[in-house]
């Protein structure tokens, strides 16, 4: 149970401004993912929340209490480290019970809590082992178990799955989300992997160069990226971004003459954009189709058959690459000349400043 509020939180090192004023409110029981490229400050921000790094500006509060100066063990937050950071000379049970031992909890109580957490994480059979004798997945569980026994208000995960193999990562992903529902606690999860962010988060916080680029649910970020950075970062393969000039608009559409290509129409009801404005049209590979006589031309540079779908990498006349996700039966071969058209109702418009012009209401059916 924890509501975390960050107000204009900053982190300055002597020569480096790592976190440049972040406002964020994290609700109780929410699963929030911090995502961003390496060096964007996401881990620093998590460590500031944990109390491992000083907050050099702004306010941070937990459940309404200012927590800037509360030591890490008194914040009621538990952290799972990327390297797990298990104590190598302690058994699994001792590792999990260490925080309670430090808090002078009676031995029987520690034992009961450890046993409970171990059962939840299927660790009951390895309680007497040292971390060295465990598999990567088991170590990961011990690290989570160590956090659980403290019965924290919130969990902080620092790229916890990056040391696991792909299959285990997918499995742990769902287990962590289940754990969130089961324990009913706030969780903050840091990753650079946008697929992890999309699959796990209630809300995603996209960080870039020490500022928040956008906060929203996975689908909100996917459908309504606030700016070019988020548009390029969320979604795989990446969104295609083509520049052009607005030529006409009516009450439903904006028509954009793309550089080195024809004119596309973008559904845009309530935005003010005058003809002549330079804009960027974002169209996701899955919202772009190979059609005959489409407005955008190019040569199929590379074709990837993934079975259920086909990825076509198209080289455009200006040399830039565009990706189209076609269906599995698309008969495109390398070297073929192709033309493409975006689905006008799924394209996104960005103004000259890189910010989205279009904020659509998006409803799931």
């Amino acid at each position: 149970m924890a509501k975390l509020i960050l107000q204009n939180v900053e982190k300055r090192y002597e020569t480096f401004h790592a976190i440049k004023g972040i406002d964020l409110s994290i609700d109780d029981r929410e699963f929030v993912v911090f995502v961003g490229p390496s060096g964007c400050g996401k881990t620093t921000l998590l460590r500031m929340i944990a109390g491992l790094e000083d907050i050099t500006g702004g306010d941070f509060s937990i459940d309404g209490v200012r927590a800037n100066d509360i030591p890490p063990d008194k914040r009621g937050l538990a952290m799972v480290f990327q390297t797990y950071a298990l104590y190598p000379h302690m058994t699994v049970a001792e590792n999990m019970g260490f925080a309670l031992k430090m808090a002078k909890v009676p031995r029987d109580e520690i034992k009961a809590k450890v046993a409970h957490a171990a059962a939840m994480l299927q660790l009951d059979k390895v309680l007497d082992r040292r971390p060295k004798a465990l598999s990567g997945g088991q170590r990961q569980r011990v690290a989570i178990g160590r956090a659980i026994v403290r019965n924290p208000k919130g969990f902080l995960f620092d790229e916890p799955l990056s040391n696991l193999d792909a299959a285990l990562r997918v499995q742990m992903r769902t287990e962590l989300v289940k754990l969130n529902k089961q324990l009913q606690t706030t969780m903050i999860y840091v990753t650079h992997d946008q697929i992890e962010a999309m699959t796990m988060a209630d809300r995603i916080v996209v960080l870039h160069a020490g500022i928040v680029e956008q906060v929203g649910s996975p689908l909100e970020l996917y459908n309504n990226p606030a700016n070019l950075f988020v548009a390029g970062f969320i979604g795989s393969p990446k969104m295609n971004l083509l520049e052009g000039v607005v030529t006409a608009r009516d009450d439903q559409h904006v028509e954009v003459k793309l550089d080195d290509a024809g004119t596309v129409a973008v559904m845009a009801a309530r935005i003010a954009v005058a003809p002549g404005t330079r804009v960027t049209v974002g169209m996701r590979p899955e919202h772009t189709a190979l059609v005959s006589d489409g407005p955008i031309g190019g040569v199929a540079d590379f074709v990837e058959h993934l079975g259920n779908e086909t990825l076509v990498y198209v080289k455009r006349p200006d040399g830039r690459q565009m990706i189209v996700k076609a269906d599995d039966l698309a008969g495109v071969r390398m070297g073929d000349a192709v033309t493409m058209a975006p689905k006008g109702d799924r394209s996104v418009l960005f103004g000259p400043d890189g910010k989205a012009l279009l904020r659509r209401e998006f409803h799931l059916h």
Binding site: G51, L52, P72, Y87, F98, A103
Partner: protein, 304 residues
């Protein structure tokens, strides 16, 4: 395709590597083995041979006298005093170097201005050779008339004491500790620097601070390097000689006569090569028994 080729390549490399290991390597080892035999096994055999002889340099020739040297050795009270002295010296210096070595390493592991110079100074005594160290202590520090300790005691209104006659073993232990604490510090400091920072941060999150952090995180991490310090220092300290020779000459009486020093007295004061050899063989057996336990303990620590 490219990957497939690469994989086959490495696997043939592995295979050829394995066949290379099957080549008979004994001839290649032979020069080293022969050198080792000449260097250490022959003198050992020679010593064992002498230990069964009545061989005194003043009354040649040497004659075989059965186990008489050993009987005298084990019935002589000075042998047992020497062993006791050796044990006191080794344990005393080990205790000092583990305790102070850990404390100094913990201090030097902190960040403070001039840290590198402080580290260098802390390690420096280790590079001073034993006789020099002994002379520094004897003439500059412990001397009751001109020594620093004596001056300090006078300042406090005490009578300066003659350290080498009042507390001879303590003095020798102090001097050896002064030389060996830096060695322990050096090893323990490098070990501290290899302690995973994530682990320390996890401990911070778990609420382990100050002494608890030392007790549950840092010291367990240092257990392995401490056992290495104990092993290496025991080996060196068992053969400690120079400081005793330079300061107390094993005295007063036999207060600082260790087993090593006893062998020296027998061989070069009494010229009794036979009984010195017997004591030497006994010392070798003792040292090997000790080494066996130590190495077993250390290797168990290394595996854990």
């Amino acid at each position: 395709m490219d990957q497939g080729v690469a994989v086959t390549n490495t696997s043939t490399e592995v295979r050829s590597g394995r066949s290379a290991r099957q080549v008979n390597t004994l001839p290649l080892l032979l020069p080293a083995v022969i050198l080792l035999l000449l260097w250490s096994i022959l003198p050992l055999l020679r010593t064992i041979f002498y230990s069964f002889e009545n061989y005194n340099l003043m009354t040649p020739p040497a004659v075989f006298n059965g186990g008489l040297n050993y009987r005298y050795l084990f019935t002589d009270i000075s042998t047992w005093i020497a062993i006791k002295n050796s044990v006191v010296l080794v344990l005393g210096v080990l205790a000092a170097s583990v305790i102070f070595g850990t404390l100094i390493a913990l201090l030097l592991n902190n960040d403070f201005p001039g840290r590198n110079i402080a580290r260098l100074l802390a390690i420096a005594p280790f590079f001073v050779m034993s006789p020099v160290a002994a002379l520094i202590w004897k003439n500059l520090l412990l001397d009751p008339v001109s020594g620093l300790f004596g001056w300090f005691m006078t300042l406090l209104g005490l009578h300066p004491i003659a350290w080498f006659s009042t507390a001879p073993m303590l003095s020798v232990v102090m001097i050896y500790s002064w030389r060996w604490i830096p060695f322990a510090t050096l090893i323990l400091l490098t070990a501290l620097q290899s302690l995973d920072t994530d682990q320390l941060e996890a401990a911070r999150m778990d609420g382990a601070k100050g002494f608890a952090r030392l007790r549950y995180i840092v010291l367990p991490h240092l257990l392995r390097p401490i056992s290495i310090v104990i092993m290496l220092e025991s080996i060196f300290l068992l053969s400690a000689f120079a400081v005793i020779y330079t300061t107390t000459n094993g005295g007063p009486g036999d207060a600082t006569t260790t087993l090593t020093y006893l062998i020296f007295i027998k061989a070069l004061n009494d010229f009794s090569i036979g009984s010195a050899s017997a004591a030497g063989v006994f010392a070798i057996v003792l040292a090997n028994v000790l080494a066996m336990f130590l190495i077993r303990a250390v290797s168990r620590n290394l595996q854990a």
